[in-house]
């Protein structure tokens, strides 16, 4: 039982991080129908920027995190402006492929600049822990849950209560009607890219926390947020969060309980196995809706 609760806690913490990353996918997808395959690379870049500013530059950790979120927000909006706005009206396929190309280029550039060794994250928590009953709680995992919850609350209130949030929802509903109502749809798209960049940075922060570290494999870890977003359905924010937590729990539970015949490191592919199984039953995810098509 203790082991179960321990794994459950760690799963929820990992899942909260996946939820942030997955929400980054959904924000962009809702506004422009594009899956951002560069989310993993943005996450990697964010984690390395935090590490660079906190360790090499020597900024206080909180400042480093905020600065990295700002930088990635600017990067996301800039990428949208430089590459994606030029191909407006092209099939979605083209936009998605552009994000794949960007993903490869960015993660290789990160490796070229920072080398391929692990780095220190520079966070104040390190490997310190506290105990709740028999469960050992690492501070970084604890803060992972708290920060993800706060970030999600901020995002959902932004989406619900502000003018820009309204514009985002309107763009998701009907882009042309929104445009004709005077909403700057291009800027809304840029905003969603900036939001996704900031969320990716937070995701990178906690994926790189103890016992992990900023290293090149983070990009692959971020790809495991794909199953999360697919489970929830690409167009559902709530689904992304639920899917994220579910995938985190599945991953950690299989790392603890998977029988040996499934092979070593089965936990790393368990999210994909769950995803394929669910998609074959519900092709648009658990909470997604099959879009109607006009001929």
């Amino acid at each position: 039982m203790t082991q179960f609760l321990q794994l459950l806690f760690e799963g929820v913490s990992l899942g909260a991080t996946y939820a942030l990353v997955a929400l980054g996918f959904v924000v962009i997808y809702r506004a422009s129908g594009v899956i951002n395959f560069a989310q993993g690379a943005m996450l990697l870049l964010g984690a390395y920027l935090i590490s660079w500013m906190a360790v090499d530059v020597g900024l206080p950790f909180g400042v480093a995190v905020l600065a990295a979120m700002g930088a990635l927000g600017a990067f996301g909006a800039g990428f949208h402006r430089v590459a994606l706005r030029r191909v407006v009206g092209q099939p979605t396929f083209v936009l998605v492929m552009i994000t794949i190309g960007a993903s490869i280029a960015v993660s290789a550039a990160v490796e070229a600049v920072f080398g391929d060794n692990q780095r220190l994250l520079g966070d104040p928590w390190g490997s310190s822990t506290f105990h709740v009953g028999a469960i050992t709680v690492t501070w970084v995992k604890f803060w992972g849950i708290v920060v993800a919850a706060v970030a999600l609350a901020v995002y959902f209130s932004f989406d619900r209560f502000t003018r820009w949030g309204l514009a985002m929802r309107a763009t998701a509903g009907d882009e042309e009607a929104t445009l004709s109502a005077g909403v700057p749809v291009g800027r809304v798209h840029a905003l969603t890219w900036a939001l996704a960049g900031a969320m990716a940075t937070l995701g990178g922060l906690f994926l790189a926390g103890f016992p992990s570290a900023p290293a090149h494999g983070l990009g692959d870890a971020a790809l495991r947020a794909f199953p999360a977003v697919v489970l929830g359905g690409l167009s559902s924010s709530v689904g992304a969060v639920a899917g994220g937590v579910l995938i985190g729990v599945v991953e950690v539970m299989t790392s603890g309980y998977a029988p040996s015949w499934l092979g070593t490191n089965f936990y790393a592919v368990a999210p994909y196995v769950v995803m394929i199984a669910i998609l074959l039953v519900r092709p648009y995810g658990l909470l997604g809706v099959k879009p109607a098509e006009r001929l």
Binding site: S32, G33, I35, A83, R86, V87, Q90, P91, T92, F93, V94, V96, M97, I98, I100, G101, A102, S103, I104, A105, V106, S107, A108, A109, E111, A112, A172, G173, D174, E175, L223, F226, P227, V230, L234, G263, T264, N265, F266, A268, V269, Y272, V273, M275, I276, L279, L280, P283, Y284, P291, A292, E293, R294, L295
Partner: protein, 358 residues
Amino acid sequence: MSRSLARRGALPAFAALAVALPFGLSASNLTTATFVVIAAIGATGLNVLVGYAGQISLGHAFFLAAGAYTGAVLGEDHGVSAALWIPAAGVVAAIFGALVGPMALRLKGLYLAIVTLGIVFIGQHVLLNSAGISGGPQGRTFPPVVIGPFDFSPGQTLQLGGLTIDRSGLYYYLGLVILAAATAFAWSLRRTRGGRAMLAVREREAAASLMGVDVGRAKVGAFVVSAALAGVSGALYASYLSFAQPTQFNLDMSIQFIAAIIVGGMGTAAGPLLGSAVVFALPSVLKSLPFVPEEGTGGISVGDLTSISYGLLIVVFLVLEPRGLVGLADRLRSLGRRSAAPDFTPAISLNTPEEAHP
């Protein structure tokens, strides 16, 4: 008219160049050319799936692996002749394609891309844990091609008249023959009922279905053709390397193939060849540049520089010339004939309205 004449002249010239090429290249450049030819077989396959049928797949590396390990198990572990294990690699990969293909019936567009991405990771996991087939994480050796009097083992050469063809040259010519057949097949596929069905599915699935196209058949067919060519390509690739690890068949490999067909021009017959030449020759070209440091001397590594370059190539081509090098060539040609009206026939238009936003 002039255009088709130009193309008719270009084909024999291109073929003659390809045949004569090994005699004009240094050993290291010939190695690169051999990899390009072998990869182009796989790219031709991916082009059928993505360029013709409009199904986005990130799973190509998985099918290459299926072919490579079929070749290894049959050729090395069971001593089967290469005349059998090369086709068998294609057949086994095609069977996997037929298993994965039906997923495309339920999943559209981007969902399919994500699922095929998952398949690459799952395939790698299975291979890493099946030491009997793959040698586990340490990797295994792959058999050289031996067909009758032709022995492609290291150190062997073929004397043909006064010419000597070394191991790389042998793989080059074998790859070239298979590539020519694959290209001819892909080219003529567009003119068959099945090929046209794929194009119709790409343009508009629902409309194609209403007009009586068997959408399921077209999609699964595209997966099977694509996987079969990937399997042959993978078997030759591993055999030429003679040693490989499961982790080499990774997502990056899939993306390189995507880059190749985008850079070359999706949906065209020549696109995969041109694109492969650019993408898979990049490492050697970059290595030879004066400002790129030697491996291991610090600074930016060739591998990173390669990845950055082909990542940027994907972005630049899609933003500026989505029809790839083939489209670029068309543009140059129409610049040459100023008077003639420019030809704006799109080589590709992937309309996937299911995923277009409502």
